[in-house]
Symmetry: C2
Subunit: 260 residues, 2 copies
DNA sequence: CCTTCCGTTCGGCATTGTCGAACGCCGTTC
DNA sequence: GAACGGCGTTCGACAATGCCGAACGGAAGG
């Protein structure tokens, strides 16, 4: 069933991701142990990656770290995302108006990835950063996207092994979440009330693309103590308005899904 | 002589970089032609990369584009750069004070790579972006780094095929550049006066690491028409001061190279 | 000085990736 | 509407390629 993969390419990716998953500096020995490969196999792949600038060896410790080429490629990807270009100025404006941190996230497999983040002037907690993955079931951006997926998609993303509790407020029951998603669709926005991190409250709204699909969302995050009724309402208004604006810029037509 | 590379990994990298070098969307046919590989070979590698999230296929056109995983990895690399963390707040301050765009760049092979960029309020030209490569001989950041390399290093980086003229002011004579680098060392800063782009003037200063090596630099870029004697002097003062501060934060001791 | 540890090199074997050809699914053309 | 062309995909056979274990060499530590 699984597609036929080129073994050595697959292993090269394993190695690269190992740096992200564990330590930023690894020796050949460590890599070969963690991936259960012989040292010489790892050596060959690593030298190839190093030769191309995707890894670099510290001349002193002889350990390896991720190379600048990955930085270049990653930024090339980021710059080619049109949603990012469209949303950036709006995000800047949102932060100025709301004085709190704003995130832009896209869906990727069963999680979301933050593609833009602009911190407010008085940031306290920083659990997120651009390029980081986050779960869908306990983040504002995640739920805002999830609520607008097909049932099969939702089922897959709510597969039990994903529903990890991050705080005591994290919802981990699939059927309860499904109910909750309906509320989100009715409201047009999602709220995360200390579900990913204690003391953190977020409001998120879905972004529709030209086909009417939701693959991205924006959110405003603030320490819960700073969110009173008034500022909460303001967040909802501004975030949903901005999301609509971005959707429109992406070619989304109207509230009703288009029928061809 | 060239290290023994794993062919399929090397080819996978060729494919990824092809997206950066040419178009952001490529079909298997295009790739196999440009790399002179059979379609099936390309297919195998591409499916592996897609399976891991490093490429994604547009369901309509069936063409491929770079995947989010590269964005994640690239940002992980960016976040692990300590020079970036140190320099970021200083760069922000510089932009506020100078009202012009500030760059942070690091040396990579025979070129420099921008790792941070903060635009001034009235930006006109944007030839650069984070993650982009630039030549050493005609940029402020490049010359500021180049001036402090070893003679062999300078020779290599001034290899004739790199000395491309970007404007009528670009210096393309190696010996003339070598003279020019001496001036830079005497001054402690480098000036790029329309050498990479007409109408653009930059001041750049080297950043020393804890071993006294220069692997990075910062610069301030402005439209030449806005740079009068007074603002030019201010740029020089502020950029060199900031560079010194970053060097100190990296563990650089004093103007004299340390002897162990 | 001996030991240990780790990166690197080597050589033989079989796995794996490679290629060309063929397939099948479009959309286009006549 | 049938034939064509273009493209992604699959198949099968061959041998090149990457794999492993063992051995090497240099550095650090006792």
């Amino acid at each position: 069933m699984t597609v036929k993969v080129i073994q050595s390419v697959d292993r090269a990716i394993d190695i690269l991701e190992l740096f992200m998953a564990s330590k930023p500096e690894l020796s050949i020995k460590e890599i070969s142990e963690k991936l259960a490969l012989s040292k010489s196999t790892v050596h060959g792949i690593i030298k190839t990656l190093e030769h191309r600038g995707y890894l670099q060896q510290d001349p002193e410790s002889l350990k390896y770290r991720l190379g600048i080429k990955l930085f270049e490629l990653g930024n090339a990807v980021g710059n080619s995302m049109d949603i990012r270009k469209i949303a950036s100025p709006l995000i800047r404006r949102l932060v100025e108006e709301l004085h709190e941190t704003v995130h832009l996230a896209v869906m990727e497999r069963e999680e979301v990835v933050y593609v833009e983040k602009l911190e407010g002037p008085r940031t306290l907690t920083i659990y997120s950063h651009v390029g980081k993955r986050a779960p869908v079931h306990c983040t504002g951006v995640g739920k805002a996207i999830l609520a607008y997926q097909s049932d099969e998609q939702i089922d897959r993303m709510l597969a039990s092994d994903h529903l990890v509790a991050h705080t005591e407020h994290t919802m981990t029951d699939a059927t309860a979440i499904r109910e909750h998603l309906k509320t989100i669709r009715d409201n047009g926005y999602a709220v995360d009330d200390e579900e990913i991190e204690l003391g953190l409250k977020c409001v998120a709204a879905p972004i529709f693309d030209h086909q009417g699909n939701v693959t991205a969302s924006i959110s405003c995050s603030a320490p819960k103590v700073r969110v009173d009724d008034h500022s909460f309402a303001e967040m909802i208004g501004k975030i949903t308005a901005a999301a609509s604006e971005i959707s429109a810029a992406l070619g989304y037509r109207n509230p009703q899904p288009v029928n061809l």
